[in-house]
């Protein structure tokens, strides 16, 4: 019997060590796997590479992970909070590396990793500072930038429902980066609000097939 439910955050995060690359879902506060990120803090890690759209934001557990010094590099589109953050200080001090990627290019690079496209061209960012040093070519008269797939050791995603095969649904604007990250990581760890019996999710409305998910943690509810 396939059963991807795990009993604890610790079990969910098993194997994440120093230097791991991690994708973390969410846009703003919606669809962020907060309970997993909080669990990371307890692991006292170093040298992480974090791929998350709002990595410099001031919500959820990520700022704490940054303050803790666990993160060596951030790959994101929008590392900005309403005020100054620990991220700004570390960046200014040269203690954290930042790779800034246009949000759509970030999404497409993550998707590419999940679908077996090693690289693709995009007109986004052509002629700007974010294309500096990147290979370009003219395609249909338009300068296009070569971008490479972006994968990770682990993805932490926030789902609405999950079954024991790891099939997931998302709610509202909580979908955002979660499905593409789930497909792009070698180990995908989901937290879900609701466990459902196998067969309860409508096959037409599964948003991430269980195939992409290795572990599911559902807080406070048994499958």
């Amino acid at each position: 019997m396939i059963d991807k439910f795990v009993p604890s955050v610790e079990a969910a995060l098993d194997g994440i060590g120093d230097g791991a690359s991690l994708m973390i879902g969410g846009f703003g506060t919606v669809g962020q796997p907060d309970i997993l990120v909080d669990g990371l803090i307890a692991r006292g890690l170093r040298g992480l590479v974090v791929i998350a759209n709002n990595a410099g934001g001031d919500f959820g557990g990520l700022p704490k992970l940054i303050e803790q010094g666990a993160i060596a590099k951030v790959i994101c589109s929008y590392p900005r909070a309403t005020g100054k953050t620990a991220f700004d200080a570390l960046l200014a001090a040269g203690k954290i590396e930042l790779e800034i990627v246009p949000q759509g290019t970030l999404a497409e690079r993550i998707r590419a990793a999940g679908v077996g496209v090693p690289a693709f061209y995009t007109p986004t960012a052509a002629g700007t500072a974010l294309a500096m040093g990147k290979e370009t070519r003219m395609i249909n008269g338009q300068e296009s930038v070569l971008e490479y797939a972006l994968d990770a050791d682990f993805a932490l995603v926030q789902a609405w429902e999950a079954d024991r095969w790891g099939n997931l649904t998302y709610r509202g604007t909580g979908r955002n980066f979660n499905p593409i990250m789930a497909a792009a990581a070698r180990v995908t760890i989901a937290t879900a609000h609701h466990a459902r019996p196998l067969g309860a999710l409508d096959p037409e409305h599964v948003m991430t097939p269980g195939l992409f998910v290795q572990r599911v943690f559902v807080a406070g509810s048994a499958p």
Partner: protein, 213 residues
């Protein structure tokens, strides 16, 4: 130089909103552009896109009706209007990058006569740059209109011969709405279409960094 008083910020949003025809799909950038939605009546069906994954953004929720799972790209709570659809990031940026948006309305630091614009980074050291979806919108929307003050807080012109700030996208702006005027960006440069009430062509030219046709 005397202080010229043109449109207020709500007036600027209202002026731009008047030019959006029914049926267009439109992305409104964070900040001032977001106000545009308030000035498009619901019975003029305009499909507002939010790059975090919404087509068909509706008005802000009434108090007590908020759904914490429904936000826009500015992280404000929203509602959906009938006909709306929700999607993930790859699909949402497919809307933008696949040239399916009729219009993106963005804020700006500078717009140049050739349609280049800058709105994501001042290039100052020690400030984490944050691009979000601006470059995707700048390169992908069928039209880009910039909604901004005509002049920077330090008095510098924001409509310029060429951008000094790091570019967001090249050659994509077709129109600029400011507190003073509506200016088209044409193959031959800036074209003044309209001045705010009480503002003269000479007033606008005086604070514009390139000739206005």
């Amino acid at each position: 130089m005397t202080e010229i008083k043109g449109w207020s910020r709500p007036d600027m949003a209202r002026r731009l909103a008047a030019d959006i025809p029914e049926g267009w799909a439109v992305n409104l950038g964070i900040g001032l552009p977001t106000l545009v939605a308030n000035h498009v009546p619901l019975d003029r069906e305009v499909i507002f896109h939010s790059e975090n994954g919404v087509l068909g953004v509706g008005p802000a929720p009434a108090p007590g009706q908020e759904d914490p799972w429904m936000i826009n790209a500015g992280k404000q709570l929203i509602t959906l209007r009938p006909g709306a659809s929700l999607m993930g990031q790859a699909d949402s940026f497919a809307v933008i990058r696949g040239r399916h948006l009729d219009l993106a309305v963005l804020g700006g630091y500078q717009v140049a006569t050739n349609g280049d614009f800058a709105n994501w980074s001042t290039g100052r050291a020690g400030e984490a740059p944050a691009v979000g979806g601006a470059m995707d919108l700048g390169a992908g929307a069928k039209q880009v209109w910039v909604l901004m003050e005509h002049v920077a807080k330090d008095g510098a012109a924001k409509l310029v011969e060429s951008c000094s700030y790091p570019l967001t996208a090249r050659g994509s702006v077709t129109r600029v709405y400011t507190d003073l005027a509506v200016v088209d960006v044409t193959p031959s440069g800036f074209l003044l279409r309209e001045c705010a009430p009480g503002v003269s062509r000479a007033d606008v030219q005086a604070v514009t960094g390139a000739p206005l046709a």
